[in-house]
């Protein structure tokens, strides 16, 4: 396959250049290695024309970019390195019924027309490969170690779980990549977040990343590319690593990275866009060299002990406003910084929460299991384990939205759909759904939701809706109990 061939050649080059000792002299971080490999042209001030290996496209941030190309009479340079899906505003109910939202339908149709005109492969609603852009990229093997990847979507950071340098861009840059297959960039600072220790039963990757954002705040990673290291990270599955990298943007980082290892290679082997046979082995050899050199230095570091992390629940209106499930809603009065105090007061008023309320006393109305953070098969398995043989609380409406058609098919093959339906969950078609509520899946004003997604901003899931970010297991337990519970005692 063409793509496989590209990858093979690409990594053959890495291999050869290292043998030649070209860059072996200075110790480099993984970020620096991937960066160096993609420099087309570097200006004296550091401004770099950086080559992009894979460009993922979805319906919301692309129409103006395609239109820009047309207006300027420009071609899309590499349709073969561009991949499109529809996910953000697609309905998750029966796909055979036409979309009722006219404007959303126009956007979806526009993507079809644009992809046809510019020759971009499109995984549309009928495609078995369709799904949330950050779920299908890895699933199809488009996402690979050492690649540069972009998408007009901030959660592109997800793909860093494979050691790809992946970041979100705006629509003007989408057009830039379409026209040139490059971006104008300057190097970012590097930030190591090291997690060591053993996670207790019931504590997940979602709890790790929420705990990290709680410490750094939502701007702690601004301007940085984060590399997650340490024994805990090494022990995570690819699904879990994706959950961590996915939320790198929630601490403001440009991208998140995890060094590829055997877990990565096992995941990739046999996927559609991944090279096979000897070519795969050669690629793996190159991929192994991507890890940060021992002597390389990061600009900033943070260390965490996984043993200390318990299930996390957000109480406010940004993903840094998080506490332990065993804790209470904080009292803004006790906060040192004036900015924090005012932000917390505003958040509590929006969330209709009183300071010092036990987290486990907070009652919920809705549960959403889905989004590119937590909608992969293992997420659904974790949730299903918790609810098996139980019923959703009568006060709760609960929704499961698989991240892709493939996830849905696999889950159904395992009978997870039955577990969810028997417990009283709605089992839906793939899409972004209530993660951002561009489709009809939204919270009603005042409704409180336990959500496995990544953003609890005001109105994110629906105007005046109240979002609490949690792991899939925590969301499932809350669905049954009607309020938050510590899933470790489940």
């Amino acid at each position: 396959m063409f793509t496989a061939c590209i990858v093979y050649k690409k990594f053959a080059h890495v291999y050869e250049s290292e043998i030649a000792g070209e860059q072996a002299m200075t110790a480099r971080t993984m970020y620096e290695k991937v960066w160096d490999q993609h420099v087309v042209k570097e200006m004296p001030d550091g401004l770099t024309v950086l080559y992009i290996d894979a460009h993922l496209v979805h319906e919301v941030t692309s129409p103006q970019a395609f239109e820009g190309l047309r207006t300027a009479g420009r071609k899309l340079r590499r349709p073969d390195l561009t991949y499109a899906t529809m996910d953000h505003n697609v309905p998750t109910t029966d796909r055979s019924i036409p979309m009722t939202d006219e404007i959303a339908r126009l956007q979806v149709d526009m993507l079809s027309r644009n992809c046809e005109e510019f020759g971009v492969p499109l995984y549309d609603l009928d495609s078995p490969r369709n799904g949330i852009v950050h779920v299908i990229g890895p699933e199809l093997g488009i996402t690979q170690p050492g690649l540069t990847m972009v998408c007009g979507d901030s959660h592109t950071s997800t793909h860093g779980a494979f050691g790809a340098l992946a970041f979100g861009i705006g629509t003007s840059e989408v057009e830039h990549v379409m026209a040139t297959q490059c971006l104008l960039q300057k190097r970012s600072r590097t930030f190591e977040i090291r997690v060591d220790g053993v996670l207790s039963e019931g504590v997940t990757a979602k709890d790790i990343i929420l705990n990290i954002i709680r410490r750094t705040g939502t701007a702690g990673g601004t301007g940085a590319v984060i590399e997650y290291t340490g024994s805990t990270i090494r022990g995570l599955s690819m699904d879990e690593r994706m959950t961590i990298c996915n939320m790198s943007i929630e601490l403001g980082a440009r991208a998140g990275l995890i060094a590829p290892d055997d877990t990565t290679f096992e995941y990739l082997a046999g996927r559609e866009f991944v090279p096979e046979g000897a070519a795969f082995d050669r690629a793996v050899e190159g991929w192994r060299k991507l890890a940060t050199d021992d002597e390389a230095e990061y600009d900033e570091r943070l260390g965490l002990n996984a043993d200390e992390i318990v299930p996390q629940v957000s109480w406010g209106t940004n993903p840094g406003m998080v506490t332990d499930v065993t804790g209470v809603v904080p009292d803004p009065g006790g906060m040192d910084s004036e900015n924090d105090r005012r932000a917390a007061e505003k958040a509590l008023s929006y969330m209709a929460l009183e300071p010092n309320t036990s987290i486990t006393d907070i009652e919920i109305d809705r549960v959403f299991i889905g989004s590119c953070t937590n909608s992969r098969l293992s997420d659904l398995q974790a949730a299903a384990d918790v609810i098996k043989g139980r019923r959703v609380s009568p006060r709760v409406t609960a929704l499961v939205v698989p991240g892709s058609h493939a996830v849905k098919r696999q889950a159904e093959a395992e009978g997870l759909d039955r577990v969810f339906k028997e417990a009283g969950f709605e089992w839906r078609e793939a899409g972004c759904s209530m993660c951002l509520g561009m489709n009809p899946d939204i919270l009603q004003p005042g409704e409180r939701c336990a959500s496995t997604s990544n953003r609890n901003f005001e109105g994110r899931q629906g105007r005046n809706g109240r979002t609490h970010l949690v792991s899939p297991a925590m969301a499932a337990a809350a669905a049954v109990a009607g309020h938050f519970v510590d899933v470790r005692n489940w």
Partner: protein
């Protein structure tokens, strides 16, 4: 191509909040348009309008005295959240030319430059004072000179700000970034040949 930005003098509106995210700047229900224009009417929609669609008198931009504000002063980490360029489109379409804050989120900051909207980083104390002055003074107006990288206040104080030279050059001259990169088309082609001949 972005509108060039050289100097701008305008009325300041204070939005005294930190971490204003892109879901607030332009809520998702307005991202379905396929044009770049017409987003101003939806700017800060959930704050500007109440549930029934009438203007919320409590929101600062609804105060008559800020009606022709073209400079927004706000708190840390403005524009955090999504990559939606609809956020700068909405701010600009509404009439803003400059956003002043102690810090911005990366993608938003970057997106502004592509659209002739200038994000200016000033130190937190200066911003705090400007927020107060914009709230207390009648028609508090400042001037922004991009060439000199200076914000000047009415009482004569001026503040230098940093801006990346390449971004400055592009927005100052309204240059087409794509056209600029395409000058290096031979290098791109050479890169493609050596790195991925397959």
């Amino acid at each position: 191509m972005p509108e060039p930005f050289t100097t701008h003098t305008g009325l300041v509106a204070p939005l005294d909040q930190i971490n204003v995210d892109t879901d607030q700047i332009i809520p998702k229900q307005f991202l379905k348009r396929i044009e770049r224009t017409g987003f101003g009417q939806f700017l800060f929609y959930d704050w500007r309008f109440t549930g029934d669609g009438s203007p919320d008198p409590g929101f600062v931009l609804n105060e008559g005295r800020y009606r022709d504000a073209t400079i927004l002063v706000t708190g840390d980490n403005f524009g955090c959240g999504s990559s939606r360029e609809h956020a700068p489109w909405a701010l600009q379409d509404y009439g803003f030319r400059v956003i002043i804050a102690p810090s911005f989120a990366d993608i938003f900051y970057n997106n502004c430059f592509k659209n002739g909207l200038l994000p200016v980083v000033l130190d937190a104390d200066t911003v705090r004072r400007m927020l107060a002055d914009a709230a207390e003074q009648h028609r508090y107006t400042v001037s922004v000179d991009l060439e000199e990288q200076v914000v000047s206040e009415p009482r004569g104080a001026s503040h230098r700000f940093e801006v990346d030279p390449f971004r400055k050059n592009f927005i100052l001259n309204g240059l087409d970034e794509i056209g600029w990169t395409l000058q290096y088309e031979d290098d791109i082609a050479a890169y493609e040949r050596t790195q991925r001949t397959g």
